[in-house]
């Protein structure tokens, strides 16, 4: 994985969905309605990303099933294993929704970001610029997620290199937290539901890939419940962020047991192609690349050039 696959995939999504999902952005300040179903054109890995499809019949796409088939644990308190996100019918991929209780300024911000995407000049997000994906990564993992579980913690490993989420079962939130992209997650069981409580986010991440913001006041509560004999994981996520929203709201997603999935590797920063950053809008100078591999009409330079960056504190 020697390319900025995240960007290639996401930028492809943005490009292909731009015309579809955003065609109704209209001239109003209101965000558009989501498109129905996946786009008819777009990167092939959008419909079936590694780890996101069914087991191939011999010689199929790699990383999905290596012949090791493990049935899901039936114990409702055991989440260990491989899972994949199941896009909800009628939803736009990686979009949390458009009927959220926005504050007026949030509505304007989201509309602006959607319009910029529509023009092919997406706003540089943490995820697009190879930072941890934070909330969006926890909610919309692009590829297979492997969960490890010990008596004291759960660890969610995404294929993306910067998304390792530890959920502590054995301690409360620390009194003093340094804000991070991933926040601080603690959990407890309520019956057969794991309740994960996350605070301590920084102000640099998004809730989804389309520009829905969150602040460092975000309090996210997720309720994980297994169903269908362990084959399905229902995740009801409640967002409470008084900076951007008028009231808390809840979004429910489903993950599917992904037996035998192998994770590939996504070394996002490996090829800092200049054309990946060209056309991006940098709302935050932090995300502007320091090192660039220049590209001339798709022909990549053999060297990466790093500028001495201005001092920008994360």
């Amino acid at each position: 994985m020697k390319t900025m696959r995240t960007c290639l995939v996401l930028c492809g999504i943005i490009a292909s969905l731009g015309a579809v999902a955003l065609s109704r952005a209209a001239d109003s300040q209101a965000p558009p309605q989501p498109a129905v179903g996946p786009p008819s054109a777009g990167p092939s890995n959008l419909a079936g990303p590694p780890g996101g499809g069914g087991p191939p019949a011999g010689g199929g796409p790699p990383g999905i099933d290596d012949g090791q088939v493990f049935p899901p644990p039936t114990d409702p308190h055991v989440l260990e294993g491989a899972w994949k996100d199941v896009p909800q019918p009628g939803s736009t991929p990686f979009m949390i929704g458009l009927d959220l209780p926005y504050k007026p300024e949030t509505r304007a911000l989201v509309s602006r970001r959607l319009e910029l995407m529509k023009k092919g000049t997406p706003v540089a997000s943490a995820h697009l610029t190879c930072r941890p994906t934070g909330v969006a990564g926890a909610l919309f993992p692009m590829f297979s997620v492997v969960v490890l579980q010990t008596p004291n913690k759960l660890i969610f490993l995404s294929e993306e290199d910067r998304d390792v989420r530890t959920v502590f079962l054995s301690r409360p939130h620390p009194k003093s937290l340094t804000p991070t992209y991933g926040g601080d997650s603690v959990a407890h069981w309520e019956g057969d539901t794991l309740v994960v409580d996350t605070v301590g986010y920084n102000r640099l991440g998004w809730i989804d890939e389309w520009g829905t913001p969150h602040s460092d006041k975000l309090h996210m509560i997720q309720r994980f419940t297994k169903a269908d004999g362990g084959k399905t994981l229902t995740i009801a996520t409640t967002f409470d962020d008084p900076v951007y929203f008028t009231k808390p709201f809840t979004v429910t997603k489903r993950w599917q047991w992904n037996s035998g999935a192998r994770q590939l590797e996504n070394d996002c920063a490996e090829n800092p192609r200049s054309d990946a950053a060209e056309g991006m809008i940098f709302e935050n100078e932090l995300f502007r690349p320091v090192c660039v591999q220049s590209s001339d009409n798709g022909k990549l330079s053999s060297t990466v050039t790093c500028s001495k960056p201005p001092k920008v504190k994360p």
């Binding site: 790699p62 260990e80 941890p132 010990t150 490993l157 920063a269 090192c291 990466v304 920008v312």
Partner: protein, 242 residues
């Protein structure tokens, strides 16, 4: 020990005391041996960071002439301030085995089907498959394809499928995509872990060679989210200590 115990009268309380003492001393009792593997779990930190990997006898690795030339060129380039050969300059993955050499903590999580290495450096994870499956290489990567097994309390990890754009060490030791890395992780006491690393790459070296790295357990410690790109934006080095 056991014959001596049989020859004298020992009360159950004394036996318990001996057992506890032995456990504290390094875990050699049957109770401790029942789950030796779990004891690798925890946060670890390299005792002495390795910049330039050397063999067990302290010599330079047995490079083939062309690899030795590349290695010396890189050492000279870094000294002159040119790190363009080192992709971590722009925060690409450190890769295996270099991740095991740098002064950043990592956490080991031992599970039946996987052993995970969670590195603080740029928040990378490396997952070792423990199922016994024969995993093929889909595409060379910085972490490669890692499979493991337990030999008693020793975790033996074999890694193949390593892309050749990473460096074996921070000095710049090259390697090919045919590299096979074998690591033997063994506890030397409760809080000391050794990784004996064998590097087998006939394209780069005249013979397989070994190196040894020691880690100390970081009790009551956790790894923290590290974002390399934010650090270099702030003017800090991508990997400290280089």
């Amino acid at each position: 020990m056991s014959s001596r115990l049989r020859s004298v009268s020992v009360t159950p309380r004394a036996l318990a005391s001996i057992a506890i003492t032995l456990m504290l001393a390094g875990g050699t009792t049957h109770a401790a041996e029942a789950q030796p593997n779990e004891r690798l779990s925890g946060v670890w930190m390299v005792e002495t960071p390795v910049f330039r990997a050397r063999t067990l006898t302290g010599t330079s690795p047995p490079f083939r002439p062309e690899a030795a030339r590349v290695y010396q060129e890189r050492i000279a380039a870094r000294r002159a301030g040119d790190t363009s050969f080192d992709h971590t300059t722009w925060c690409a993955s450190l890769g295996v085995p270099r991740l095991m050499f740098v002064p950043y903590p990592f956490e080991i999580v031992v599970r039946p089907k996987q052993v995970a290495f969670l590195y603080e450096w740029n928040w990378w994870a490396r997952v070792v498959d423990m199922t016994g499956a024969a995993l093929d290489v889909i595409s060379p990567t910085s972490m490669g394809v890692a499979t493991g097994k337990w030999e008693g309390g020793t975790l033996v990890v074999q890694t193949k499928g390593l892309e050749d754009t990473t460096l074996l060490d921070s000095a710049g030791a090259p390697h090919s995509e045919q590299t096979l890395i074998t690591e033997r992780f063994e506890l030397k006491g409760a809080d000391v872990l050794q990784d004996r690393i064998t590097i087998d790459d006939p394209q780069t070296f005249t013979r397989p060679w070994e190196t040894l790295v020691t880690y100390r357990r970081q009790r009551n410690s956790v790894i923290h989210e590290d974002v390399c790109l934010d650090r270099i934006k702030a003017g800090e080095p991508s990997v400290k200590g280089e």
